[in-house]
Point group: C2
Chain length 154, copies 2
């Protein structure tokens, strides 16, 4: 089998798809570097795009929060398959990012309009909001539809 | 707010839930160490438990395959939320694992009985099967239901 470069040229369709996946996401899979071991960790987190940038609401009691304090480099998989169809042909993206502090009090209304169920724990002292500043995006729109995007493409 | 250890004592219910999540998984979020950057990568992969151990079918053209050649330490998030309910209360687990080679030809029937759609690409030369040998399991059965399991608990 002859190999080819599997990455396509980024175009406006790819940019729109990435934007749509980020804006629609309500949860995702967050990968962090585990300070206690050689493997990364990956866990489910609540997500909302606020001011166009993914934010996450995490508990200080969680392993991913502790890991992000140690190393803010992370990656977030967005684009959850629906109940039908092949999950591996469903569009998704990996956002490589750096996690930084966000103003939880100021973002309360914006977050809860996207994530109303988290009103139950939003104000808990151990929950903090983090902003995931994009470094790169690996977009997979399905087989043969792979793209690499930069922050400016979003 | 007083902190407490969020990890519960492992019991048979926790072991059964972990076993059930692993056996039921058809896809998951795989986190790997990126040899090209400081952040881990996370991507969606096809999964099937064969001989009780999660296996993945991945293309050599993918970024996660290249990363696993460089470093086989990885983590796999299993337990996908359904279309209803709160994704953050849906049970899931993170399997910390070491990826190793599996016999793709010998596992063909077992894999395709779980993943019939992958018959389209199973025999492609650039697709390989990897076995994810468990190192540890972080089980999250919902709020307040966190457990740590070892390989012997599975």
């Amino acid at each position: 089998m002859t190999r080819r470069d599997p990455i396509n040229q980024t175009d406006d369709d790819a940019r729109r798809l990435a934007r749509r996946l980020i804006d629609a996401a309500r949860f995702g899979a967050l990968a962090v570097n585990d300070p206690g071991g050689p493997a990364p960790l990956v866990s489910r987190v609540a997500v909302a795009a606020l001011d166009s940038c993914p934010h996450i609401l995490v508990s200080d009691l969680s392993a991913h929060s502790a890991a992000l304090v140690s190393d803010p480099n992370c990656a977030l998989l967005l684009g959850e398959p629906g109940p039908k169809g092949d999950p591996l042909t469903h569009p998704r993206l990996t956002l490589v990012a750096v996690a930084g502090p966000a103003d939880k009090a100021a973002l309360r209304g914006a977050w809860l309009s996207r994530q109303p169920k988290s009103a139950l724990w939003y104000d808990f002292a151990d929950f903090r909001m983090l902003r995931l500043a994009p470094v790169a995006v690996h977009l997979n729109g399905g087989f043969g539809k792979a793209y690499r995007l930069g922050p400016d493409d979003l």
